[in-house]
């Protein structure tokens, strides 16, 4: 296990380096870009001394390296400061938005992975069948259609024309606000149907295509013949094949989760979902740097963490991986 510990340390060090780089890039982006955050914040009638006071308050008058070090410390401690336009701390706001984003992507992710795996595995197992052709063709189409377009179409049809489903938001007026309250509320699930399905329609294609091809690969392996020669039933053999075909899925799902977590800007806007992506766009529209910065940072962190977890997990599920 010494090998593993060394590996873990190395990976953590690498991740730390990447975080530092990303933080630095963000610092350059937000602090050193032309323009002055006070310019947007100050009212027209501010006098110079008021502006200077504001700058001092935000530490904008310090030398850049003091600002940089303070910024690094704050970011690493998840102290994102105060937004320009809201009076909760950025960290509190982020917590709320991250939760909301998760409320949208996690169910969609689970459905996509579970059903995508099943469909993909079956398609790979029955290569050449009508089912396989249909699954692949549908996946290719769904993969190509931009999800925001699907979202718009879904809204047009199911919300505005047929009026079957609510056209956005997470819960109706006055609905529950806590995590468990929402999960227990049928209204939340009703609101989730459209954005969830749109998400699934795209995200499910990944596992389907991946599982299908990795199943094809596994199908050519010698050990399957051996399993049959051992006299195992077809069911057990499929289990073996799927278990092997699932290996690449682990990495894929981690990467996919990261992308989902970053990428729901469009759907959150179309479906009025108060999540992290929408918050980012809103913050950018108002140049609310602390919020935008924190949102971007969290997205990057989640992505990195998931990649790290995926690598470690891969080692756990594939005994062939060694850490030497």
């Amino acid at each position: 296990m010494g090998g593993f510990r060394r590996y873990l340390l190395r990976r953590l060090a690498q991740a730390g380096f990447v975080v530092w780089c990303i933080l630095t890039i963000m610092f350059l982006l937000f602090k050193l870009m032309p323009g002055d955050p006070t310019a947007i914040f100050v009212d027209n009638n501010f006098t110079e001394d008021m502006i200077q006071r504001q700058r001092m308050l935000w530490g904008l008058n310090d030398p850049w390296w003091v600002q940089y070090l303070r910024y690094l410390r704050n970011m690493l401690l998840f102290d994102f400061g105060h937004p320009f336009f809201q009076n909760e701390s950025v960290a509190e706001i982020m917590l709320d938005k991250v939760r909301n984003t998760c409320l949208m992507i996690v169910p969609a992710l689970l459905v996509s992975v579970v059903f995508g795996t099943l469909i993909g595995a079956y398609a790979g197992w029955t290569r050449g069948s009508v089912f396989e052709r249909a699954a692949v063709a549908t996946s290719l189409v769904l993969h190509s259609v931009p999800s925001f377009f699907v979202g718009i179409l879904a809204l047009m049809v199911f919300s505005y024309q047929l009026r079957w489903l609510p056209p956005g938001g997470m819960v109706p007026l006055g609905g529950p606000d806590t995590l468990w309250g929402m999960l227990a509320s049928p209204d939340y699930w009703k609101h989730l149907v459209l954005p969830g399905l749109v998400l699934v329609s795209r995200e499910i294609t990944g596992p389907i295509l991946l599982l299908r091809s990795s199943m094809l690969e596994v199908k050519g392996s010698d050990f399957l013949d051996m399993l049959r020669a051992k006299g195992l039933g077809e069911g057990r053999i499929v289990v073996h094949a799927t278990r092997n075909a699932l290996l690449p899925l682990v990495t894929y799902v981690a990467v996919m989760t990261g992308i989902l977590f970053q990428g729901q800007v469009l759907l959150e806007i179309i479906f009025a979902w108060p999540g992290l992506g929408r918050e980012l766009v809103q913050a950018l529209t108002h140049l609310d740097f602390p919020v935008a910065q924190a949102a971007l940072y969290l997205m990057a962190l989640v992505t990195l963490a998931l990649n790290l977890i995926a690598d470690l997990l891969y080692g756990a599920i594939d005994p062939r991986v060694t850490y030497e």
Binding site: A39, N45, E48, Q86, N87, A272, L287
Partner: protein, 621 residues
């Protein structure tokens, strides 16, 4: 102190200096000069350029851009590209400017249209880096009914927001006088006179009056929305709509759709939406009726003692939402608090306030005294200020450590005395305002739910499906085609309210080519105002009759202003030719020859004959 010492321009490195010199065409002896001598004609304005201009005159980029345009062009030099920045929230402007820049090509003009986020656009304007034309819409808020809002900000020689750096001494004199004129009739006269000076100098170009205020609401369930001139029916800035609306059926909960709900529930730190909503929770001192006349609100009456002093009498029997009575002490506390801490939006109304003293506690009379004669007492001071509860705010600055910034205070549940109590609030999603039936002007509804829907499409869909009853209109005005779509639903009613909106562009009169009055005139002839009204605004607007911010319908409008130069490219070319301009082989407009005395005179004078230019001086001979 010598002028050179006083002038604290940017420290420029040698490379920038060389570039600047090259750009300005200066050579030889000029190289010895360490700083570009951007100076003003009238030293009275020097202070403005030193202090406030600290914003931009210390910005090397601003200096570079400006100096280049303050330098006499050489023979055959082309009129530079006209840069216009447009926020990406305003597709109509872009559509209009596309057309105008195409028309401008026939005059040999070339435009550079840049689109950016609204915040970025504001930022560029704030540091005077917006290019040639500052395009701006009127978004009416109660405090902006006062004419000073625009006539000061866009034309006063010593205002940071004078983005065209247009400095005319006669105009500034009128502005000084109107601000001190506490007699409304006299003030009206001065304001109209100022508008005339501005219009005659062709400094602003009003592109259109509008867009019209078109709103839709659920007329199946609701009745009696009051239309306020310039605001419409569903605007939180004018709560007449929300206080008079009557339910037709049993549902007494009004649902208002909005595109966003900025989050601060602290009134002092709030921006547009929440600031307007906050003023339904806290009572303003005075208010506007539907025709924009000032009416008493929390202050029952006021009396002018002299041009600097007023007595305010608080309305009797008011209660805060927690049951405590509203007293004149609360009012005094609020004003003191604002003077002591607040340097944001309330500062605009309170910076001239000298003192607030209780003169008759039993009858609730407070005497306010201002530092100077104050013309904006009713339309600014009384409109902006609210009554804060002293028992909550008394020690709040000490309790919450916000480094002396009241905008950082955390007020999770605002308590005021206004017609609505703060109810449930879910960030970025919904906000409930519960009717305060004990209010002196109690709302007819039980509560208002503000529902956030980020897209107009979503809002319209929800209105059709009766999920919302009205779209909040301070951010969103419908176009006729959108209204027509909505009108297909039988329960939706469309309302048009008289507006005093406009879209203007102020040119940077201080620099070339805009310094030439004739050029400004020719350029205005190239603007097809009718196109803006007809196509991008879909006919919902008016072709402006005059270049004024106080449009027809505004109580401060001057009906006797010169008409806007009509769209006539031939005439524009004629004017340019007569003024000495020529065209290069590729069609681009070329400045008049340096020897053209008429042109030199016009450029030095900037304004039309009879007005005195006090702003930036041309550089070099």
């Amino acid at each position: 102190m010598s002028r050179q010492e006083r002038f604290k321009g940017p420290k420029m490195d040698r490379r920038s200096l060389m570039m600047l010199m090259a750009a300005s065409g200066a050579a030889g002896p000029a190289l010895a000069q360490a700083e570009p001598a951007i100076d003003v004609v009238n030293p009275k304005y020097r202070k403005f350029y030193d202090d406030v201009a600290g914003y931009y005159i210390k910005d090397p980029q601003w200096v570079k851009e400006t100096a280049a345009r303050l330098t006499w062009p050489q023979a055959g030099e082309r009129v530079p590209e006209i840069r216009v920045i447009i926020p990406n929230t305003e597709p109509a402007w872009l559509d209009a400017f596309r057309k105008w820049s195409k028309d401008g090509e026939q005059l040999g003009l070339r435009y550079k249209l840049e689109q950016m986020s609204q915040a970025r656009w504001l930022e560029e304007i704030n540091v005077h880096r917006h290019g040639d034309i500052e395009v701006h819409p009127a978004v009416l808020r109660p405090e902006r009914v006062d004419p000073a809002e625009w006539i000061v900000s866009r034309g006063y020689g010593s205002d940071r927001r004078n983005y065209g750096e247009w400095v005319v001494e006669q105009y500034d004199d009128l502005i000084d006088r109107q601000s001190a004129a506490s007699d409304p009739a006299e003030r009206l006269k001065l304001v109209r006179e100022a508008a005339r000076v501005m219009a005659e100098d062709l400094y602003p170009c009003v592109f259109g009056w509008g867009p019209s205020i078109i709103e839709a609401y659920n007329g199946g369930d609701w009745d009696n929305f009051v239309k306020s001139r310039g605001f419409g029916i569903g605007n939180f800035n004018a709560f007449l709509g929300f206080s008079r609306v009557k339910p037709k059926g049993n549902r007494k909960s009004l649902r208002v759709g909005m595109t966003n709900l900025l989050e601060t529930t602290n009134l002092l730190g709030a921006t547009n939406n929440m600031r307007a909503i906050g003023r339904m929770i806290y009572d303003r001192l005075a208010y506007y009726d539907e025709n924009l006349n000032v009416i008493p609100w929390a202050v029952e009456s006021w009396r002018r003692l002299d041009e600097r002093t007023w007595d305010l009498t608080l309305r009797k029997g008011m209660e805060f939402h927690d049951g405590r009575p509203v007293t004149v002490r609360d009012l005094k506390f609020t004003l003191d608090f604002m003077v002591k801490y607040e340097r944001g939006i309330f500062w605009t109304a309170n910076r001239f306030l000298e003192s607030a003293e209780i003169v008759d506690e039993a009858n609730g009379v407070l005497r306010t005294r201002f530092k100077q004669p104050y013309g904006q007492f009713e339309s600014y001071f009384m409109q902006l200020n609210v009554v804060l509860p002293q028992h909550i705010w008394g020690n709040i600055m000490e309790e919450q450590n916000t480094a002396g910034d009241p905008r950082r205070l955390r007020i999770d549940t605002p308590i005021g005395s206004g017609p609505y109590r703060f109810g449930r609030h879910r960030k970025d999603t919904e906000l409930q305002l519960i009717a305060n039936k004990k209010h002196f002007d109690p709302p007819q509804v039980d509560d208002i739910w503000v529902v956030v829907t980020p897209s107009l499409d979503g809002l319209m869909g929800r209105l059709e499906s009766r999920e919302i009853d009205v779209i909040e209109s301070s951010n969103i005005s419908l176009t006729p085609s959108q209204a027509a779509q909505l009108a297909k639903s039988s329960h939706v009613r469309i309302e048009r309210t008289p507006d005093v909106n406009w879209l203007h562009g102020v040119v940077r009169a201080s620099v070339l080519p805009w310094r030439d009055y004739e050029f400004r005139l020719a350029w205005q002839h190239s603007i097809d105002r009718e196109f803006l009204v007809k196509v991008p605004w879909e006919g919902a607007g008016r072709v402006p009759k005059s270049n004024t911010f106080l449009a027809e319908g505004n109580p401060w409008h001057n009906p006797d202003l010169p008409a806007v130069p009509g769209f006539d490219l031939g005439k524009a070319r004629e004017i340019l030719r007569a003024a000495g301009y020529a065209w290069a082989s590729d069609g681009r407009l070329v400045y008049p020859a340096p020897v053209n005395a008429g042109w030199r005179q016009r450029v030095v004078r900037v304004s039309k004959p009879g007005l005195t230019w006090g702003g930036l001086k041309m550089l070099g001979g």
